[in-house]
Amino acid sequence: MNDETFLNETVEVIALFKAGHHPCQPVRFKRPNGKEVSVTELGLRHPLPNGLKTVHAFDVTDGGTDYRLIFDSERLTWRLTMEADHYE
């Protein structure tokens, strides 16, 4: 079975904003415990309705673990809401 952990951590993110089909790509993020994660691939970015506003869900991986980052474009904040690994 899979091993998903649901979180609600505020994280610091370095993201690249550029032209093209994927205009915002998280590149690296730092968790409250100090662990830094380098994003090797953006799996999917999709909007999520959240009350009056829309936040953006970024499903990313560092090549060993999958993560979900939520970007609140109104408050300009990032949260780490899920990590999943092993899948064994």
């Binding site: 089909h21 909007p47 009056l52 090549g63 999958d66 899948y87």
Partner: protein
């Protein structure tokens, strides 16, 4: 009409491969190449909604119980469905398809049809096979590298869909007068959309056991002996590439069902879930600008009994309260030992009343309240405002992806 339609094939059917599982593998790269099953609830008794190709290769099938799938494929990874992700991909696919023609019809959340008749000059001059490969590439560029789709091209919808199913995953095939017999020769009768076990038995009863024999059958046999209706004539035309399925379907009923999370719930707890379903049905009904005259309630028991009852009112209704009041009254006759409950509204009518009523003021007030609640829920999120009775049901009765209809996406 004896010959295959000789016009240029201009119907393209696009089908996302194992859609929900592929989207999850796209979103979570560590799942790629692994057997994945999408379920609505992660319990052993739950049925699999979608299986990835890796799981299908191990014998896992859609509709199979998760516990049975684990026997075939112990490493299977079960994920709960994530409707917002699938809706996003659906809208991205729709956007891509609309770039090629104004005549796009989505058949469900994971498949759609582009009709290239009456498209722009620039598109009409292009080879549809090239456009097919371009759409495949755009899916990868605009959504993600793991996205794949089957594409079928032909002169009508059913043969385009058949073509899309020839080489899964990631195929692109065309059915024309040149290869129709070769294609039909490689298929079983039940590979044709619309031919399931019952129709197969009908065809078998007159000695038709293969699609090729079906193709060679004449109109009188199909119309008067096999299908005993005009349907036989439609099949004769379909198999020769003529379009008979380009019809607009109208919504006839709106409903929802729910498999109880536990089978020892009290009567009150069950009616709370019924109330929740009625609120959901009411919201869907009004989103289509419809009211209803009939309520149909059903239940399945642990003994596999199917119980149902219905009532029809002289005047249409639309509010959650009106639907629930009728459903609750009907539900009082429901048997014990329930496993699943469902409610449908039928005999749909326009939301706007067509004639004056003695109770116009009351109806206007009820309509106003319903509209305000729908607006609030639309703006602040589903079920922001709902009845106090269903305060605790939201954690159980989740909104799931509707198959077959794209009306609520």
């Amino acid at each position: 009409m004896n010959e295959f339609n000789q016009e240029r094939p201009l119907i393209m059917h696009i089908d996302l491969n194992s859609c929900f599982a592929t989207v999850e593998q796209q979103a979570r790269p560590m799942l790629r190449g692994k057997p994945v099953a999408i379920v609505n609830r992660r319990t052993d008794k739950t049925a699999i909604v979608t299986a990835s190709y890796e799981a299908k290769a191990m014998g896992v099938k859609v509709g199979m119980k998760l516990r049975d799938a684990k026997i075939l494929c112990p490493d299977i990874i079960a994920l709960e469905s994530d409707p917002s992700k699938y809706r996003y991909v659906y809208h991205r696919l729709l956007d891509i398809m609309k770039d090629y023609s104004a005549h796009v019809t989505m058949k469900s959340i994971d498949e759609g049809v582009i009709d290239f008749h009456d498209t722009s000059q620039a598109i009409a001059g292009r080879d549809l096979v090239d456009i097919g490969y371009e759409i495949k590439q755009r899916l990868k560029d605009e959504i993600g590298v793991w996205m794949r789709c089957n594409i079928g091209i032909s002169t009508n919808r059913i043969l385009a869909k058949t073509a899309a199913g020839l080489h899964k995953p990631d195929g692109l095939d065309m059915i024309t007068s040149q290869n129709i017999k070769e294609v039909l020769g490689s298929l079983q009768l039940t590979d044709l959309t619309g031919i399931a076990r019952r129709n197969e038995r009908r065809l078998n009863s007159v000695g038709i056991t293969t699609p090729l024999q079906f193709f060679d059958a004449d109109v009188p046999t199909l119309r008067d002996v096999v299908f005993k209706s005009v349907v036989g004539e439609w099949w004769y035309k379909r198999l020769r590439g003529y379009e008979v399925d380009d019809v607009e379907t109208h919504i006839k009923r709106v409903g929802r069902q729910y498999v109880l999370e536990r089978f020892d719930l009290t009567y009150q707890e069950i009616t709370q879930r019924l109330h929740h379903l009625c609120e959901s049905v009411g919201s869907r009904l009004r989103s289509q600008q419809r009211a209803a005259r009939g309520v149909y309630v059903y239940a399945k028991t642990l003994d596999r009994e199917y119980w149902h009852t219905s009532s029809l009112s002289p005047l249409p209704f639309f509010s959650d309260q009106a639907i629930y009041a009728q459903a609750l009254q009907l539900f009082q006759r429901a048997p014990d030992g329930l496993k699943e409950i469902g409610v449908h509204c039928y005999e749909l009518a326009d939301f706007e009343p067509s004639q004056l009523s003695l109770f116009a003021d009351d109806i206007a007030r009820e309509r106003h309240i319903a509209e305000v609640i729908d607006t609030l829920n639309q703006r602040f999120g589903e079920r922001t405002v709902h009845s106090a009775d269903t305060l605790n049901t939201g954690i159980y009765v989740h909104t799931k992806i509707p198959f077959g209809s794209t009306r609520y996406l």
